[in-house]
Amino acid sequence: MWDWHTAREGLPLILHGFGITLLATALGSLVAIVLGLVIAVLGRAPTRWVRLPLRAVVEFVRSTPVMIQLFAVWVLAPGLDPLTIGIVVLGLHYAMYTSEVYRAGIDAVPRGQWEAAVALSLPPIRTWWGVVLPQAVRKVIPALGNYVISMFKETPFLSVITVNEMVHEANQFGSDNFAYMEAFTIAAAIFLIASYPTSMLMRKLEKRLAH
């Protein structure tokens, strides 16, 4: 039966776990957003010696489950802090998806924009930074946001490598106190409370960027 007392006792622990979840999502997203952009831009490199190996890595990382990647790195690099491994692996895994998103955004920038940049003798860095990326990124912000949300929902995977994120903590508390119902109800409620404003925010953002 539901016990309010146990629930109150578990709450701080689970909230602490939620903090870890948020941290992992925020830093993992940062990795995915920056690295994805780098991969997308390098994917446009003039030489095949950059493009082909990059393609291979992207395909490899995309075609293995994130859980396996987490385990593999954890086992192969035993000295590393699990949270760090989690952030890097999640970020890396999602970078493969965000790079595709950026790529589509870059492809959608009309050829005339590149040609105008050439006609003005803009150096490549400035063409990317001043002309192409601002237009490409603006188009893909909603899609990137969706990946941040799905990363948030996949952070429980980090519990398999002992990261004390929220689901891990809920599970721990549940088994220590025979209070799985309280523990997981709280965890679910927190996920719900966090998701709702996020999705509202996303919808607003999409609308703002639409025109």
Binding site: G112, V118, A119, L120, S121, G130, Q135, R138
Partner: protein, 259 residues
């Protein structure tokens, strides 16, 4: 304002040829667009390229702007070889040339003023203030002094094209390439753009290569008209003669269709 342009002065050099095409071949696959093309444009000359669709007029301008590479032959600009340079030197050489496109190609992520100051700041190293001053003068010239802080997507096609002209001129090129710059415009907006170009032709000694179907405009500004067909120049001469008594039958047919 454009006449006391310091960039202009450097163009007064012993070399009087702005553009030379020497046996230029351009092929796409096995389709030969330019077939050992030879022609010259003197510094300060205004040349209009005419010819049927597919005769390679756009290709010539794109080769000059280095948006395409020649298959064979040599292009010279201001007496210097221009084709086949490594990318870095090419970028320097390109500064002598400006281009205005049919579709304007303004940067939608920048305000009008920033569209114009971008290259002078980033490429020529002007300070923001200098570049902004230059940009405002040019906006004045094209009649859009009040639009500096507007985003280009808010402008009409004719206004966008005038900004694009100002943007090209802000680099003070020796040579200006104009590829059907009024073709994408609603008819009532064409005159405004042509008037701006007429003013520029009058007020500066910039070399112009112009592709246009506006024969009245071509007659007004050109020193010479080149008729292209089959990848070569088949006839050339001053507009008065070309338009009234073309020698070549293909020219007669073509002008008969457009005039």
């Amino acid at each position: 304002m454009l006449t006391d342009n310091p960039a202009r002065k450097t163009s007064v050099s012993p070399v009087s040829t702005a553009v030379t095409f020497d046996q230029v071949v351009k092929r796409y696959g096995d389709h030969t667009v330019l077939d050992h093309l030879d022609f010259e444009v003197r510094q300060g000359e205004r040349v209009t390229l005419i010819g049927p669709s597919g005769s390679g007029k756009t290709t010539i301008l794109r080769l000059l702007m280095t948006l395409e590479r020649v298959t064979e032959g040599v292009i010279q600009v201001n007496g210097q070889p221009f084709s086949g340079l490594p990318e870095k030197q090419l970028r320097r050489a390109r500064r002598h040339i400006g281009m205005v496109f049919q579709q304007f190609n303004l940067f939608p992520n920048m305000k009008v003023l920033d569209n114009i100051t971008e290259a002078p700041v980033q490429v020529l190293g002007l300070s923001r203030d200098e570049a902004a001053e230059r940009a405002r003068d040019l906006l004045d010239l094209v009649g859009l002094a009040d639009k500096a802080d507007v985003h280009p997507t808010r402008l009409s096609g004719g206004q966008q094209q005038r900004v694009a002209i100002a943007r090209a001129l802000a680099m003070r090129p020796d040579i200006l390439l104009l590829d059907e710059v009024t073709s994408a415009l609603d008819p009532e907006l064409v005159q405004g753009v042509l008037d701006v170009l007429r003013d520029i032709a009058q007020a500066t000694d910039i070399t112009m290569l112009c592709v246009t179907h506006e024969m009245g405009f071509a007659r007004d500004i050109s020193d010479r008209v080149l008729m292209f067909d089959g990848g070569r120049v088949i006839e050339s001469g001053p507009p008065e003669r070309m338009f009234s008594e073309p020698e070549h039958e293909r020219t007669r047919d073509f002008l008969g269709a457009v005039l």
